[in-house]
């Protein structure tokens, strides 16, 4: 489903990804781990087409589409969605208005009323305070509320590939397990693939990965299955020094 080959990426002329190779299959959960500054978020941002990240070499293909030739919105319409680490606020725009525009941009005919109902139902499942749905998206929301809003968007948009960028930062254990539960459910229900980026092992107890990749200084230093995580928990990142 997703194939990344020998990916080299620069930001402001500094090389931050130095030849990444990875593959994620349909319905697979891949954990992308590594210490701070190892290039995890850079990889995620390159994947969604953040223009700050300049690809100097390599390929990214998603279901046979060359992502590097596509704008962020085109990638999104293929079914790629990132749950941001720090979702930005959009003054004057509610989540309903945004999702309506998103679904319509995909060429779908959506009734605003049906969508409103669906969003309200999903919000209830995620224990999101319903008043947030009437407010400007993410404006003045707590860290946990913002993350739940990202997951709510996932529930409505049903992406083929979800990129979870450090979703565990600043979340309490209840919120974390709720989010992991929701993501796992989507993996089961619609065979959604997941690239879960995390610094810690905590989240991976709830969202068990099929594959694990460890990055350090922009390079893959380890790959394997769940035992890589267990090993990291015991030893820490120092084993890669």
């Amino acid at each position: 489903m997703l194939k990344i080959k020998n990916l080299l990426v620069k930001v402001e002329n500094k090389e931050i990804l130095k030849g990444i190779n990875l593959e994620i299959g349909k319905g697979e959960v891949m954990a992308l781990m590594g210490p701070n500054g190892s290039g995890k978020s850079s990889l995620a941002n390159t994947l969604i087409g953040n223009p700050i990240y300049e690809v100097t070499e390599g390929e990214i293909f998603f279901e046979g589409n060359n992502l590097l030739e596509m704008k962020p919105e085109e990638r999104a319409r293929l079914g790629i969605m990132m749950a941001f680490q720090y979702p930005t606020s959009i003054p004057g725009v509610t989540i309903r208005e945004m999702l309506l525009a998103v679904l319509r941009a995909k060429g779908l005919t959506v009734s605003a009323l049906d969508l409103k109902k669906q969003i309200a139902e999903e919000a209830e499942k995620l224990k999101v305070d319903p008043t947030l749905l009437n407010r400007n998206l993410n404006e003045g929301f707590s860290g946990g509320e913002k993350k739940k809003m990202e997951i709510l968007q996932m529930r409505v948009l049903k992406p083929k590939l979800l990129v979870l960028d450090e979703v565990d930062s600043g979340l309490d254990i209840d919120a974390l397990s709720l989010i992991a539960e929701n993501v796992s459910e989507m993996v089961k229900e619609i065979k959604m693939s997941v690239l879960v980026i995390t610094h810690y092992q905590r989240l991976l107890k709830y969202l068990v990965p099929d594959k694990v990749i460890v990055l350090k200084n922009g390079e893959v230093v380890d790959r394997g299955s769940k035992e890589v995580v267990d090993n990291l928990e015991k030893e820490g990142y120092k084993i890669y020094e």
Binding site: I48, P72, T88, I90, P91, G92, V93, A101, K106, L157
Partner: protein
């Protein structure tokens, strides 16, 4: 033909109201302004002697005053080239059926279709100098609500007009108010009796339909004690190549405990000079709210004011200015706190783009004895490119200690982060930036009637196409 092309260049996005309606004119004054014209106008209108005297006095004051040297560039206005009085050849139509088809179509275009008109308590349409269409729901007339053209108001309620006309905007207030006081024609006269709630809004629509015609309407609203009314005005003009002048005066009296909202959406063609004086007198426990949308015109200079004269009076101005290529929106507000425990709020938002210039110019004044008063001023500017400009000139004159004054100002751009966020969900760049700009304007736009809000959002969409690199 060639003219049309030129005008399209002037407007960088399609202007849907740029056509000229086929209206027959009974009289158009030669260009220029003198005493003879004023006498002739007043005679044609069969005005009482005292109104003619006021006009002549105003003309004298106008001639003795210099044009303002602050604000925008007024030098392209050539008074001797303007037709000050242009009278359409028709009596005011009382029913929609009597309105000529061409004008009906324009009403439909500005988004006031038949269904929407049902949602209004009354409608007035003014072409050039005269009101040509007017209606008021019968049950409202029975409650004693008066909604007339200013000329008709003067005929039917001379004593009220004599008492209030020029009371809050004196004829010598400023040069343009003096000009209006000399050559005024049309506008609305509204009286709402004690404790009457008009419910649905009253709407007036102003159009300059003739090349080089000036429009100088005069509006007087008297909301008696405990009453409530919402008055809406919309403005447009055809795409003429020579500049037009619109210089209105609006006076509002909000009596004890009354509430008035006055909403304006001006979408003048981009060669109209829009120089307007709007002021409200607000008594005890009364509330005045100006909602002001400035989208069109070449230059707008407008600072709606509230004189908070009674204890606990409240004044509010919510405004949005859009300054596109070749436009200067010099707008703001004045809040004069004369009484204790008076409160005011100014929220001014502007968007400048393509070399446009948006200026906030405002004043909050609190006199000795206005203790316990409070004012908050919020100015937010969104600048969309390097060519554009935004300035803020707030003035505070605070002569009382026991007051609270807050001022917040922000200048921002459409952030890359917000764009990426929306794009990463599947919204293209143009639409994403439109959404961000509309979102920025939303706190003010949500206060204006739906048909205008839709039009404003649509306009932003047109302006934003291709604006993101």
């Amino acid at each position: 033909m060639s003219k049309k092309t030129d005008q399209n260049k002037l407007q960088d996005t399609p202007y849907s109201l740029g056509h000229t309606d086929e209206v027959e004119y009974e009289y158009q004054s030669p260009t220029g302004l003198d005493e003879d014209l004023i006498r002739k106008m007043s005679a044609m209108k069969k005005e009482p002697e005292w109104m003619l005297d006021r006009r002549l006095k105003a003309l004298q004051i106008y001639e003795g005053m210099a044009m303002p040297t602050w604000g925008g560039d007024l030098s392209p206005i050539h008074g001797e080239e303007i037709h000050y009085y242009t009278r359409p050849k028709m009596d005011q139509a009382k029913s929609w059926d009597e309105v000529p088809d061409a004008i009906k179509k324009t009403f439909e275009k500005i988004g006031v279709p038949e269904a929407e008109r049902e949602m209004l308590a009354g409608v007035k349409g003014q072409y050039d100098s005269e009101v040509i269409y007017g209606s008021l729901k019968r049950n409202l007339a029975e409650k004693g609500i008066v909604f007339l053209s200013m000329d008709e108001g003067l005929k039917q309620y001379p004593e009220l007009v004599m008492e209030y006309f020029g009371k809050v905007v004196p004829i010598g207030d400023n040069k343009l108010a003096a000009l209006n006081s000399a050559v005024w024609s049309g506008g609305s006269f509204v009286y709402v009796p004690k404790n009457v709630d008009v419910g649905l809004p009253l709407q007036a629509y102003f159009r300059i339909n003739t090349e080089s015609a000036g429009q100088f309407e005069r509006t007087l609203i008297i909301a008696d004690e405990g009453s409530r009314v919402h008055y809406i005005e919309g403005c447009s003009a055809p795409s003429f190549s020579s500049a037009s002048l619109h210089s209105a005066v609006v006076e509002i009296f909000v009596k004890k405990g009354a509430r008035v909202q006055y909403s304006t959406v001006q979408n003048w063609f981009k060669n109209v000079y829009n120089l307007v004086t709007k002021r409200a007198w607000v008594e005890e426990n009364a509330e005045m709210k100006w909602v002001d949308g400035n989208l069109g015109s070449k230059l707008t200079m407008k600072y709606p004011s509230c004189i908070l004269a009674g204890r606990k009076a409240h004044g509010e101005l919510l405004s949005i200015a859009w300054a596109g290529a070749g436009q200067h929106q010099d707008t703001g507000a004045k809040m004069i706190h004369l009484a204790p425990e008076t409160t005011s709020l100014i929220v001014s938002k502007s968007v400048s783009k393509g070399g446009g210039r948006a200026t906030y110019r405002g004043m909050v004044q609190m006199v000795p004895g206005a203790y316990g008063s409070r004012s908050k001023v919020v100015c937010d500017a969104l600048i969309l490119d390097e060519l554009s400009r935004s300035d803020t000139y707030p003035t505070n004159k605070i002569m009382e200690n026991d007051v609270i004054l807050e001022h917040e100002a922000t200048v921002s751009r459409v952030s890359e982060e917000q764009l990426l966020y929306l794009q990463s969900r599947g919204i293209n760049a143009d639409e994403a930036s439109t959404m961000i700009v509309n979102g920025f304007m939303e706190p003010v736009v949500k206060e204006i009637p739906l048909e205008y809000a839709v039009e404003m959002n649509r306009l932003v969409g047109l302006e934003m196409v291709g604006s993101v690199g």
